[in-house]
Symmetry: C2
Subunit: 153 residues, 2 copies
DNA sequence: GTATATGCAAACTGTTTGCATTTAC
DNA sequence: GTAAATGCAAACAGTTTGCATATAC
């Protein structure tokens, strides 16, 4: 799951926008590319410091933000600790609610449809079989434009 | 999407575990129940303080954690700001990678299968049609036990 | 040479914790 | 009366920012 072109692409963008390819950025990109473990900023920092102990954590954050703004990396959140959480009441019937997040107005819309549940069940089975693991839960987060924002555009 | 029984259920559990139903807890539960906006702890705090300005933020956190531990509320994370992020390289072909999160060893396993993509496509269409919105992206996070942890148990 | 990045320390946000006081049972 | 919950302040983790210094172009 590595993309040998990442550093090159970034260098191009950098050039196009009057930015500069520094040793730190190159290092961070290398580490990012070499890693398939979804590192957090801190983990990436620790890895990169093995090569350059003088690297600063804020440089890592600045670089990651820069990369994210330009679509080179995408943030994911898996762990429930230390995260900015939203709390929903849990459904008494144990049924599942999934979410749609409008990227324009930030609205969150819940949905749950039997057909969706059925399809998800197939996916869960598929993945469980393929990887030999046990799937207990499936969280689906769709994103796009909600009805209101679609109407406005 | 409200469950009138929430406060009652919590009271029962509380009783069963030697806990106490306080005015603060009742207030937090009421606010949680009345709200369909997926409030964060801070938002919930702000809402609840309208009824009881002496309510403390740490009480809100403690109550939410208590509720979460007992399965009464479930945390969700939607916003990319202020969250504990994991960074992945974005795939150049725009293809999709989904994730499996082992709740025991915290390992994250990527997967992407054409069948899954196909099923997700159906879900996206279904939801888009049902709600009249535009779905640009679908993030699927499965969780359970990974192969290693299954083997160990 | 100049604009851009860096390192460092200090600030900031969201969350947790220790402890004395209050309160539900 | 006693164990459990609260309020408060202080600590904590992850992230951002201001500023002087260094460096890519």
């Amino acid at each position: 799951m590595t993309f040998p072109l990442l550093t090159d692409q970034v260098t191009q963008t950098l050039r196009a926008q009057g930015g500069r390819m520094t040793a730190q950025r190159r290092l961070i990109l290398d580490v990012l590319q070499a890693s398939d473990s979804h590192p957090t900023a801190e983990e990436l920092y620790a890895l990169a410091r093995q090569s350059d102990p003088s690297l600063n954590l804020s440089t890592v954050y600045r670089t990651l933000n820069w990369l994210e703004e330009r679509g080179f990396v995408s943030p994911r959140r898996f762990d429930d600790n230390h995260a900015h959480k939203h709390f929903d009441p849990v459904q008494p019937d144990g049924g599942h609610v999934h979410h749609f997040h409008c990227r324009k107005c930030d609205r969150v819309i819940e949905f749950s449809a039997p057909q969706v549940e059925l399809l998800l069940e197939q996916i869960r089975g598929e993945i469980a079989r393929q990887h030999g693991l046990r799937v207990d839960d499936a969280a689906l987060v769709l994103s796009g434009l909600c009805m209101d924002c679609v109407a406005k555009s």
